[in-house]
Symmetry: C2
Subunit: 189 residues, 2 copies
């Protein structure tokens, strides 16, 4: 897939933005807030799953005094867009050559399959080489089904994923890509 120069140009902005210290999670939260304010979609980050071990009281308020971070079996963000179910995860990698599949737990891969089978929209947003990519669920699964590699080569991402433009008001408007590629076409699968 070749990107028109216009889209590539946008990315000077993103790079600058990233340099200013805005991380992927904040950028997506900003985007989701924009969608909420403009009543475009209702998408939230799920809380990080935590296993609480001990709780005590401090001024009549519960305080967790021991807990562990747990592994999620679903993806981090979900919600509703145009009446449909949407779910995705956001991952950054420092690697310039490939996206390590260790970033996605086996439970999450199974979950992605389940969501597609139930006609939901599901994808990954991958931050790599100072760009943000949207890799649609079916394209992610296609790679796994046809390769025994433990990472997705950057070439595959460049070919199958879509670059997300950064916009000062909208953040990274990933729903624009969903409209473009027809996330709703999952129904045909």
């Amino acid at each position: 897939m070749n990107y028109p120069n216009k889209i590539k140009k946008e990315y000077h902005k993103i790079t600058n933005y990233a340099n200013r210290g805005m991380d992927l999670e904040n950028l997506i939260n900003e985007t989701n807030n924009y969608y909420l304010e403009k009543d475009i979609a209702i998408i939230y980050k799920k809380p990080t799953p935590i296993g609480v071990v001990t709780v005590s009281y401090e001024n009549n308020k519960q305080v967790i005094t021991k807990a562990y971070f747990a592994s999620p079996s679903t993806l981090d963000y979900n919600g509703i867009y145009k009446g449909k179910y949407i779910e995705f995860d956001a991952k950054s990698t420092e690697s310039k050559t490939s996206f390590p599949l260790s970033n996605v737990h086996p439970h999450q891969i199974q979950h992605i399959k389940n969501i597609i089978r139930h006609k939901g929209i599901v994808f990954l947003i991958i931050q790599m080489n100072n760009l943000f990519y949207l890799l649609n669920g079916p394209d992610f699964l296609q790679f796994i089904a046809n390769s025994s590699r433990k990472s997705i080569p950057y070439e595959y991402i460049k070919e199958y994923a879509y670059v997300l433009e950064y916009n000062y008001n909208k953040g990274i408007d990933y729903l624009k890509i969903i409209d473009l590629i027809g996330g709703f076409e999952n129904e045909k699968n």
Copy 2:
């Protein structure tokens, strides 16, 4: 709304079940597991939102040493059913006469309105008087819009909500009610 005797009868079972110490959350998790296993729907409880204050390390593993429970602004359960977005919360009350609205935060009420506007299925499951009721989002909002009361009288719940049957294999099969009342009719609103 009058319930046929058959449905009422089912409730002897539920009462016994409740007496055996199965709480509402476990019962819903069981039901969701049933849906997942039978590939009927994909519905999960969101993790409890927690504000982490301090973290330390123990055998190279992160341990949360101070954190607080936060108020959720969405409902506890969401997922996908027949391609559509579904979200709900589960609440128990000891009161025999009314369901206190303090159980639902103002942010959550706004969220319920948002979900309905975006054509999602949204409802509450209320455990009250040893029965489980499904109160559909629009009926919940109708009460709030037309009353300044701080609790929903049991009479209103008996009239507008649907009793959920308990089944040993399925738990409380709330999607049966969604099919029955046409949760998909929200699209007409």
